[in-house]
């Protein structure tokens, strides 16, 4: 998956010229992501209802002024559930990405800079982990750990480590063999100083962008797990679980699945675009 992230981060969409701060592509997604964060911190600002308040008078109502996203089979307000679900979905997304990146940096740096024998062993370990498609690794972890929000976070995070590790290792090797590391040796810098001052900062820098986009992807993966009934289970309001809930009412009340799914999609798109903008800003920082 990290490779897919890399592609999403790298590929050019429009013209690269111009001031990246001023582009509308930055403001709109940034505003949306801020809105999401607000929903995480202060959900009650967005809705007066409780996410699990059952209202038997309002079962399967279509979207309207009283219930923006309609209601579900128990009369719960879908919009409220989406708002309250944001903290769980984004929390899982961010937590999983942190686990993946942290593990990836440790494993990748070790696999790039340790003595040759250990290095070969670690590279082999990364290879083995990469032989499992990420979803299968996540499913296997769920099978061992059981379902629930924390385990979903762990499963999504742990299964992404190998991908990040491979990326970090290739970056570490690239920097380690670069002209400026050799030049630092000739200036008289010590090896630990070179690793701390040049190798790690330069190798990890591209990860910042990937991690941003990775959050979006982790949200997707977690919601997919919930959707197939192996992540967060109802009645929790996690986005994937919400969707799974509504699957049985597709023919009578499609909004229960459809509108939350739209929120997931728009959120991930916003986070992805934000990540790419961040990359533009970073690359403009070094190439003004």
């Amino acid at each position: 998956m990290s490779q897919a992230l890399d592609i999403v981060a790298r590929v050019r969409i429009g013209n690269r010229a111009g001031n990246p701060w001023r582009a509308p592509g930055l403001v709109i997604p940034l505003a949306f992501v801020l809105l999401l964060l607000a929903a995480v911190a202060l959900p009650h600002w967005f809705t007066a209802l409780a996410p699990d308040a059952v209202d038997t008078d309002a079962i399967l109502l279509p979207p309207g002024p009283a219930h923006w996203f309609g209601t579900d089979q128990l009369g719960r307000d879908v919009f409220t559930r989406v708002v309250y679900g944001a903290s769980q979905s984004l929390g899982i997304g961010i937590g999983a990405t942190l686990i993946g990146c942290a593990g990836g940096v440790v494993l990748g740096t070790a696999a790039g800079l340790t003595p040759p024998v250990l290095q070969r062993l670690l590279v082999r370990l990364i290879d083995i982990l990469l032989a499992f498609p990420e979803i299968l690794l996540a499913l296997l972890l769920i099978a061992v750990l059981g379902r629930g929000p924390t385990n979903t976070l762990l499963a999504v995070g742990l299964s992404s480590i190998a991908g990040y590790a491979r990326l970090v290792r290739s970056q570490v090797l690239r920097v380690w063999q670069s002209g400026y590391v050799e030049h630092a040796v000739s200036l008289g810098e010590s090896t630990p100083a070179i690793i701390a001052r040049h190798v790690v900062p330069n190798a990890v820098r591209p990860l910042v962008v990937l991690a941003t986009i990775g959050v979006g992807n982790a949200v997707l993966s977690a919601s997919a797990l919930s959707f197939i009934g192996l992540g967060v289970v109802p009645p929790a309001a996690e986005w994937g679980a919400l969707l799974a809930d509504g699957r049985n009412f597709l023919d009578t009340a499609p909004w229960i699945s459809f509108l939350p799914a739209t929120v997931v999609a728009v959120s991930v798109i916003a986070i992805t675009i934000l990540g790419r903008r961040l990359q533009l800003l970073l690359s403009h920082g070094s190439v003004p």
């Binding site: 972890l141 061992v144 959707f227 459809f258």
Partner: protein, 306 residues
């Protein structure tokens, strides 16, 4: 060189098998209860027989060695749930999944080639629209696309069956749902590869020979882009697998995705082991094929490999 490569493959597969074995043994719960569908469903004698039949009375190292030994011979034991050899269960499920994945892949390749060839380094407006659309598709959950298709074409328009169904008719919507993210990924990489190739000095040389822009793309740039795409196969395989599980769930199709879910939900260890091992094997084989493809496309690698 070939021997070394073979050793690496063996090591990767052995590592995968071991990790899976450890994971499966770490799954909490009494295997017999799983086998029989509940606690204390069978009496002690029957329990004894089952334990012996599945080798659960042996110490763990022995179970491990037996499992590795049998896996080497392609024997993953019997599924707890289906009570038939794992390979048979997988074999039956593979048909519909391959059909779905194959159709989706073919569609995705077609879409990606057209989109990338038409817009790489030209038609700015269309390029921006398509590339933006691809990014959107990549950020959209597969199951949402599936739900959208179902809602519009099955419920409102009634063109396709809602659940299950037979033949081509039932294949169209799932294949489209699965193909879109694959196509988006392929198109982005292909376009990037083409644009990179078109910026190389050799592209200028080719243009100065009077070769048309389309010929330049087809005869020269496409090979270079193919190199970029072939680095993607691992991601594509993972995407197809994850996508199949989701698509099969949304559309209620039988297939590998469904039995994988069942295996996890019912803790059907032999089946789970078999599935994981097979997918690791397939992903290793794909990587091998890609390496060979590389040698075929890029003559510069041939001497180094020899």
């Amino acid at each position: 060189m070939a021997l070394r490569r073979f050793g690496i493959i063996a090591a990767v597969l052995w590592g995968a098998a071991t990790i899976t074995f450890v994971a499966v043994k770490a799954i909490p719960g009494d295997p017999v209860a799983i086998l029989t569908g509940g606690e204390n469903v069978v009496d002690a004698a029957e329990r004894e027989a089952l334990v012996r039949q599945f080798g659960l009375d042996q110490p763990l190292p022995v179970q491990y060695l037996r499992y590795i030994g049998q896996a080497l011979r392609g024997d993953f034991g019997d599924s707890y749930q289906y009570r038939q050899p794992v390979l048979e269960v997988i074999g039956e499920a593979a048909g519909p999944t391959l059909q779905l994945a194959g159709t989706a892949m073919a569609l995705a390749l077609g879409l990606a080639f057209v989109s990338a060839l038409a817009t790489a380094g030209r038609r700015k407006g269309l390029r921006t629209v398509l590339a933006g659309l691809e990014l959107a598709v990549l950020s959209t959950p597969v199951y949402w696309v599936g739900l959208l298709l179902l809602t519009v074409f099955s419920f409102y328009l009634g063109w396709f069956p809602i659940i299950g169904g037979e033949g081509i008719h039932a294949l169209i919507l799932p294949a489209i749902a699965l193909c879109l993210p694959l196509a988006a990924l392929l198109a982005q990489v292909l376009r990037d590869g083409l644009e990179e190739a078109l910026l190389q000095p050799f592209a200028l040389t080719v243009r100065t020979r009077g070769v048309s822009e389309t010929q330049l793309r087809l005869r020269h740039a496409l090979r270079h882009a193919a190199l970029a795409v072939s680095t993607l196969t691992g991601t594509l395989f993972a995407g197809v697998l994850a996508g199949s599980i989701l698509t099969e769930t949304v559309f209620g199709r039988a297939g590998v995705g469904q039995i994988t879910l069942q295996a996890i939900k019912t803790r059907d260890m032999p089946l789970l082991l078999g599935l994981v091992m097979l997918s690791a094997l397939v992903s290793v084989l794909i990587n091998l094929a890609v390496d060979a493809l590389y040698l075929l496309i890029d003559p510069r690698l041939r001497r180094a490999a020899r």
